[in-house]
């Protein structure tokens, strides 16, 4: 599904990613953990195609196709989805209209007709129920005045609507209380199947109690320094990152 090979990336001339390798197969959930400033969010942005970051070496492949030179929207059309750590507020565009535009533009790019209105409504209803989203919420301006939890829930709602092959959840757990966390995690789990994959980027182990990863990777100073199963996350929770830092320097 996703293959990252020796990825190096800069922002404003400063190297943030220093040779990342990652192989995510269909049906898998990977967690990427690491302390602040280790490059987690940069990795997410680079995969989604944020032009603020420059890939200097290596490549990002989705189903064998290189993404490096593709615009963010082209990556989205191929099935990449990024749940933002800080979703942007867009006053004047309702959640519903935003989703309609996103879905129909994606369909247009694939040479498909626009989704019929009744089908769209049905899908919106179904997916908003999955994430326990109130109907009134759908006619509000996108993310404007949303609480942290509402924003994150809205991100996963968009994921449900867009049905990506690869979803990257960037700190989706931050700003969520335990109930919202359960709803969001339940949503992700219900959307998960053998043909798609999820990369969960998180600081804490908490979310991984609910979205259980097949693999856990530790990102430190722009490199993956340790990989393991879900038990690695528990170990990190218990012992922090210092032992890994020491291990890495040794």
């Amino acid at each position: 599904m996703l293959k990252i090979e020796n990825l190096h990336a800069n922002v404003e001339g400063k190297e943030i990613l220093k040779g990342i390798n990652l192989d995510v197969k269909p049906g898998e959930v990977h967690a990427i953990m690491g302390p602040n400033g280790s490059g987690k969010s940069t990795l997410a942005s680079v995969i989604a195609g944020n032009e603020d970051f420059e890939i200097t070496e290596g490549s990002v492949l989705l189903e064998g196709e290189e993404l490096n030179e593709l615009a963010p929207e082209e990556r989205a059309h191929k099935g990449v989805f990024l749940s933002f750590q800080y979703p942007v507020e867009i006053p004047g565009v309702t959640v519903t209209n935003f989703l309609k535009t996103a879905i129909n533009e994606t369909r247009k790019a694939k040479g498909l007709e626009e989704m019929p209105a009744n089908e769209m409504l049905k899908k919106i209803r179904e997916k908003s129920e999955l994430l326990e989203i109130d109907r009134k919420f759908l006619s509000r301006s996108l993310n404007e005045g949303f609480s942290g939890g509402e924003k994150k829930r809205n991100e996963i709602f968009q994921m449900a609507m867009l049905e990506p092959k690869l979803a990257i959840l960037d700190e989706t757990d931050s700003g969520l209380d335990i109930d919202a966390l359960k709803i969001v995690a339940n949503g992700v789990n219900r959307l998960k199947n053998d043909e798609n994959a999820v990369v969960v980027i998180t600081h804490y182990q908490r979310l991984l109690d609910y979205i259980v990863p097949d693999f856990v990777h530790v990102l430190l100073n722009g490199k993956i320094v340790k990989s393991g199963g879900k038990e690695l996350a528990l170990e990190l929770e218990e012992k922090g990152y210092d032992w890994i830092k020491q291990e890495a320097t040794v």
Binding site: V88, P91, N97, K100, L162
Partner: protein, 437 residues
């Protein structure tokens, strides 16, 4: 001959076509003298610093069209808000078209300035209202001197007019270049409500310059809701002078949608004559292709406890120029004034220019006045967010521009007008988003 001299000398010919014995003719005679003294405004005037008329004044305009032209409704249907039942006052090359119009004298007057100026039954109204708030600058004086035709709307006390009134000016291009000077008078009685839509439309590429003057009087508790749709050809320029006088507890709202034309200047002025009234001025400007739009607004707070709200959004691309000159005067007597002004601009590329100048002159000490002015580009972060959801660059930009202009559209009360503006904006941005915001 210079246009100014040509106009002054054609005044005599004009006098042959109107009844010079009417009292209004004294007003005209004085006005032509004022125009002779003042002339056209130049960039030396502070209020015209950013808008030059000099190029426009070089055309050899016909002052009076030689031939009467006619148009079939189907040729111009798209310029009407035709989805709604409405009164219509339509002019073709400055001459009233009874064929395209739908006027009324039943319980209100929706008719012609020429009738109002000449018929005895309107004498009192003309005496009381005609040329009472129009400023005596050169352009307004010029219009007053040649005032003969336009819309006359008189809504009696308590009348809630259900149908909107559309005022349309077409120019056919049958003259190689044409100067139009419509003169409108709108008197809205106590507790009366009216909605008006105004549009100027040139049908060919022959140059047209319109110097329009509209006086609006909102009496006690009246509601006036006015929409100006400006989406003309590159060959057409418009100087719109609109003056609004408000009595206590009245509400006056003017929305100006400036989406096209060569040079467009909107002089929009509100004068407060009573307490507890409010004035709303909203504008959306989206231009490119060397177009020029100037919004010069004035709200004159002269009485206590009144409110004014100004909100202008502008999107400028491709060598276009915008001007926002927003003046708020709060006189010493006008305590407890609440004056709000907002002007936000987006420059799409570095060939576009905006000159923004908020001007607050406050002489009272117990007032709330605020103004905000921003000039920026589209937000990169928001663009990335939209693109990451599969929305391509062009559509993402359009979506953000829609969103930017949207809060001005929110206050449009006629759904069909809102829909039309949405459509015009979508066309302007070259996208079809498949929904109305």
């Amino acid at each position: 001959m210079e246009l100014k001299d040509k106009l002054v000398s054609s005044f005599m010919a004009f006098e042959d076509t109107v009844d010079v014995n009417l009292p209004v003719h004294e007003v005209r005679s004085k006005a032509i003298k004022d125009f002779e003294n003042l002339g056209f405004p130049s960039k030396k005037l502070e209020s015209w610093k950013y808008t030059s008329l000099s190029k426009l004044l070089k055309s050899d305009y016909s002052v009076f069209p030689k031939n009467e032209s006619s148009l079939e409704f189907k040729e111009v249907k798209k310029y009407f808000i035709h989805e709604i039942d409405s009164y219509k006052i339509v002019f073709i090359d400055g001459i009233y078209s009874s064929h395209l119009s739908e006027t009324s004298h039943e319980g209100l007057d929706v008719c012609l300035m020429s009738a109002a100026l000449s018929k005895p039954k309107y004498k009192i109204i003309i005496d009381n209202y005609f040329n009472k708030i129009a400023k005596t600058d050169g352009l307004t004086a010029l219009n007053t001197a040649f005032s003969r035709e336009g819309a006359f709307i008189n809504i009696p006390r308590g009348k809630v007019v259900e149908k909107p009134i559309q005022i349309l000016h077409f120019s056919t291009g049958n003259e190689s270049s044409l100067l139009l000077q419509p003169r409108n008078l709108i008197v809205v009685g106590e507790n009366a409500h009216v909605q008006i839509i105004e549009r100027h439309q040139s049908l060919t590429d022959n140059p047209v310059l319109t110097n329009s003057v509209t006086e609006i009087f909102a009496n006690k508790r009246a509601i006036v809701d006015y929409y100006k749709i400006q989406n003309d050809r590159q060959s057409a320029s418009l100087i719109d002078n609109t003056f609004i006088s408000q009595q206590q507890n009245s509400h006056a709202l003017v929305h100006t949608f400036s989406l096209g034309g060569n040079v467009t200047r909107n002089n929009l002025q509100f004068f407060h004559k009573g307490e507890y009234l409010d004035s709303t001025l909203k504008g959306v400007t989206i231009i490119g292709d060397k177009q020029h739009v100037d919004h010069s607004t004035l709200v004159h707070h002269a009485t206590p406890n009144c409110e004014s709200h100004q909100d202008y959004k502008g999107i400028y691309a491709d060598r276009s120029t915008g001007v926002f000159n927003g003046q708020i005067i709060v006189e010493k007597e006008a305590q407890k004034t609440n004056g709000f002004q907002q002007n936000n601009n987006i420059l799409i590329d570095d060939t576009a220019t905006i000159n923004a100048k908020p001007q607050l002159e406050i002489f009272a000490d117990d007032v709330k006045c605020s103004h905000g002015c921003t000039i920026g580009q589209l937000d990169d972060e928001a663009m990335f967010y939209l693109k990451s959801r599969g929305i391509p660059e062009k559509e993402a930009r359009a979506l953000l521009m829609y969103a930017f202009a949207n809060n001005v559209l929110e206050s449009v009360k006629i759904p069909e007008v809102k829909q039309r503006i949405n459509k015009l904006i979508a066309m302007k941005l070259g996208v079809n988003l498949g929904f109305d915001l």
